[in-house]
Amino acid sequence: MNLFRNVVFIAAITGLVAGVVLACMQAYATVPLILKAEVYEQAEGGHSHDHAAAPADAAGGNAMSSAAPAASNTMSAATPAPAAAAAPAEDEGWAPADGFERFAFNVVSNVVTGIGFALILVAVSEFAGGIGNWRQGVFWGLAGFAVFTLAPGLGLPPELPAMPAADLTQRQIWWVATVIATAIGLGLIAFRKSLPLAILAVLLIVAPHIVGAPQPDSFETPIPEGLHHQFVVAVTLTNLVFWLVLGAVVGVVRGRFTGTATSLRDSFA
């Protein structure tokens, strides 16, 4: 299991670096937009969601950390008591308190996500000979971005809280199917020198969008379109940088591992 151990080790280092980078970008680019959207969500009655976003009064915000886990699942919209407004925990269970706790959990989630994507990236790229240096890594990162962000994002754009969406399971199935089809398509184009296979690849990449992503019944939302557009741009760009970092770091770390880079400088060659 030498190879497996090496892959896991490289993925762990890479995921840690890329995840922390992503969390820092999110803290400035995407999370503020999510918090803004949650204000609209609250104004609408706070249904369908978990976080007590930007509670109107500071007292409510402080009380939340202790109140949230024990909060009863009262959805009494008729009596908008301050406590209910601050902690619409419904029956959605535990959630990290706003502020540092929420940020910390986001960092952890990003690192774990980074390690997961890095495992997939390293394993798949090893089948194709491995990522030799940071420049090859950047191209692998671009491919990962196209597969995991661009392609599913065309049918299911990044969504803010309080935005309408179709059934969750159906969207997840479409997301996974699109990722697989796009990955196979890109792989065929990159590694098979055959015109029929290239045509098949294009069909595979296009097919999920002809089928179409599951759409909600109504697109009515309290979220302003400008805010959503800003969010789509922020998510797409932060994910682009995340994938470029992920690929490049794999190239650098792997170079150290295989011994092809005798000094750190060589891994940047």
Partner: protein, 59 residues
């Protein structure tokens, strides 16, 4: 990329190599599935901002 010395764990057989890489990819898939796709509420809430920011299907 062209010689055996440049791959990770070059000494393993091709079948073992395939299995180990497939196992690593599977592990990664499970991790992404847990963080990004799990329907467990606590997992969803903990990774909420991450899910939105990664454009995983959410809610």
């Amino acid at each position: 990329m062209t010689t055996a010395t440049v791959s990770l764990g070059a000494s393993v057989s091709s079948q073992s190599r395939f299995m180990q890489l497939a196992l690593a990819a599977l592990l990664g898939t499970f991790i992404i599935g847990f963080v990004g796709f799990s329907h467990i509420d606590a997992v969803h809430n903990a990774g909420h901002d991450n899910r939105h920011s990664m454009a995983f299907p959410c809610h």
